[in-house]
């Protein structure tokens, strides 16, 4: 579904990512771990195509098509959807109106908002004065309306209080498993996702298939996500970095 090959990216003349290789297969939920400043968000935003991020080498394939230089909206139309960590304030644009445009009238904003307890936000300007948790729910609501085939989720649990984490986690699970009747079908019929997480809390709700560790702008390691999370919790990222150096 998504394949990243030898990707090197710069922002304002500075290399942020180099020689990144990563894959998300159809129906897979893969996880991106890494310390602050490793370039995780940059990678996600590069995949979405934000113009600040300039690809200097390598390529991004989506369903076999090279999308490295496609504009953002073209990627969205092909099935990529992003949940941003710090989306911009959209003064004057009502969340309800954005949902309507995003879903192209196929889904009613009210019904979508009901599940996320966001009905009273439909008349509010998008992201303006939203708390951390409200931003997450608003982003998920927009993604639900957009209905992408690959979800790029940048720290879905950050800034969310303990009570709301379950709501956010269950919503993500619901979106990824839409239309699936038995767990065995997930990798065939389910949606794909790439999730950035620091705490791993979101993994209590969604089943992760593969983990990647991104350090100093490149992928250091990949493997079983739950084992990686445990390792990181116990020993931090230092082990991963030295392990890579030994290799």
């Amino acid at each position: 579904m998504l394949k990243i090959e030898d990707l090197t990216v710069e922002v304002a003349g500075k290399i942020l990512l180099h020689d990144v290789n990563l894959e998300v297969e159809k129906g897979y939920t893969n996880v991106l771990f890494g310390p602050n400043g490793a370039g995780k968000s940059a990678l996600m935003r590069t995949i979405m195509g934000f113009s600040e991020y300039r690809v200097v080498k390598g390529r991004i394939l989506f369903n076999g098509e090279d999308i490295t230089y496609l504009p953002v909206d073209e990627r969205a139309r092909r099935g990529l959807g992003i949940m941003m960590q710090r989306p911009p304030d959209m003064t004057g644009i009502k969340l309800g109106d954005l949902i309507k445009v995003t879903s192209k009238g196929k889904k009613e904003p009210e019904a979508l908002a009901e599940n996320l307890d966001m009905k009273r936000f439909l008349d509010r300007d998008v992201n303006v004065g939203f708390s951390g948790g409200e931003i997450k729910r608003s982003e998920l609501l927009q993604l639900a309306a957009q209905n992408p085939s690959l979800y790029l989720l940048d720290e879905p649990e950050s800034g969310v209080d303990l009570v709301s984490i379950e709501q956010v986690g269950m919503t993500i699970k619901g979106l990824l498993e839409e239309g699936i009747e038995c767990p065995g079908e997930r990798c065939k019929k389910g949606k794909s996702a790439l999730i950035i997480t620091h705490t791993g809390q979101v993994l209590d709700f969604v089943q992760a298939d593969r983990g990647y560790i991104l350090c100093n702008g490149t992928v250091m390691c990949s493997g079983n996500p739950m084992k990686m999370l445990e390792e990181i919790k116990n020993n931090g990222y230092q082990e991963c970095i030295s392990c890579k150096l030994i290799k």
Binding site: M48, G49, F50, S51, E52, P71, V72, D73, R75, A76, R77, G81, I82, M84, P87, P88, M90, T91, G92, I93, D97, L98, V101, T102, K104, D125, Q142, Q146
Partner: protein, 407 residues
């Protein structure tokens, strides 16, 4: 009274060459005086289709459905006046001056005849216009609509309007200022004096829709008494040569409130010098001056001014401008003046282009770049037009769509 008139005339005559403080200077002698006679229009629906469309574009409904009354001024002549609301008085200013001896106490009391050459000329021509009054405690059921149309080439339209909302009364006005199709050059000078008495409310919406070589010099002063509210929406989205206006609201009674919204688009060749001013002369008065302007090649000067002369006054000024092309320019000039303590005046001004991250955020949801820009512009201007009549929104939306996609 006679001496009053004599001294006003003297003052006006001495100011007939006095340039205005701001904006391009128009030579009045280059324009002919607009006609004072016109064929009476019994029914606005009997106007030709072209004129009716022109009216609709500035919020004037020819069928008068949903309106308490209508008054139509063509050049310098009131050619139609009709009323279907017993709570409202509507007639030409000349008729009102004849009918009410007391009206002289309201005429040329807020706007000074010698403010500049435009006020002087309007006074010396004894300009007609609209008079609207709502008696104490009454409410206009629906908005009163007035249309001021420039109908002859290279002529000057001069107007003198007086609005009085008596104690506890309430009135909505929609004024559409426009030019007849084919009239590309001319001058519109409009004096408006508005009185909002104790506990009264006046909602005033003005839509300007001119042509490329027309100069526009409105002069408006509003007097608001204790507990009164004055809300104004000013909208100008089409090409025009030059508009220079600086409406002033004097908050004279305790707890008086005003909100002035301005939304405007400056096309190539247009100069819009749009100010608004609130003077806090009584305790606990409040004001909000909001301006949202876009340039697609023209020049915009957004002035906002608040003068605090009484304790407990509170005001906020917001000038935001978007520059959509390299050729246009935006100048925001906020002025705050506090002359007593215990006063809170704030301002927020920002000019620049549309933020790229906002555009891409919407594009990431599947909108094209054009759709994203259109949505952002609509949202940007929407802040300035909250509360305007529903049917006007369509016209505004259309213009915005053209602005975003057409040019």
């Amino acid at each position: 009274m006679q001496t009053d008139k004599v001294s006003l005339k003297k003052r006006a005559e001495s100011a007939i060459e006095k340039k205005a403080a701001f904006g391009e200077d128009f030579e009045l002698e280059k324009y002919e005086e607009g006609s004072r006679v016109s064929k009476p229009v019994e029914d606005l629906q009997s106007l030709d289709e072209e004129s009716k469309r022109t009216l609709l574009q500035v919020g004037i409904i020819p069928s008068e459905e949903g309106r308490s009354g209508s008054l139509f001024v063509l050049d310098n002549s009131v050619s139609h006046s009709s009323l279907n609301d017993e709570n409202v008085e509507l007639m030409s200013t000349h008729k009102a001056m004849e009918k009410y001896e007391w009206l002289k106490d309201y005429s040329w009391k807020l706007v000074q005849v010698d403010a500049d050459k435009y006020t002087a000329k309007t006074y010396l021509e004894d300009a007609d216009g609209y008079f609207i009054r709502v008696p104490a405690g009454k409410k206009s059921a629906m908005p009163v609509q007035t249309c001021l149309m420039l109908g002859s080439k290279k002529s000057t339209q001069t107007l003198h309007n007086i609005v009085i909302v008596e104690e506890g009364a309430s009135l909505d006005i929609i004024t559409g200022c426009t030019s007849k199709k084919g009239v590309e050059e001319g001058l519109h000078l409009g004096i408006s004096e508005m009185y909002v008495k104790k506990g009264a409310t006046l909602n005033f919406t003005m839509i300007h829709n001119w042509a490329e070589q027309i100069g526009v010099r409105p002069r408006t002063v509003v007097h608001v008494e204790e507990g009164g509210t004055y809300v104004s929406n000013y909208i100008s989205l089409k090409p025009v040569r030059s508009v220079q206006t600086y409406p002033t609201v004097n908050l004279e009674g305790e707890g008086a409130v005003t909100r002035l919204n301005t939304i405007a688009i400056a096309h190539a060749g247009s100069e819009l010098d749009l100010g608004s001013k609130a003077v806090f002369n009584a305790p606990g008065t409040r004001a909000e001056l909001i301006s949202r302007t876009i340039t697609i090649g023209g020049r915009i000067v957004a002035r906002g001014e608040m003068v605090g002369n009484a304790k407990g006054a509170k005001g906020h000024l917001e000038c935001k401008g978007l520059v959509l092309t390299d050729k246009g320019s935006q100048l925001a000039i906020p002025i705050l003046e506090a002359n007593v303590d215990d006063i809170e005046l704030t301002h927020e001004a920002a000019v620049g282009k549309i933020a790229k991250d906002q555009v891409e955020y919407l594009m990431a949801r599947g909108l094209t770049e054009e759709e994203a820009v259109g949505m952002i512009i609509r949202g940007f201007l929407d802040v300035g037009i909250r509360g305007i009549p529903e049917e006007l929104k369509n016209e505004i939306e259309n213009t915005i769509a053209q602005t975003a996609f057409g040019t």
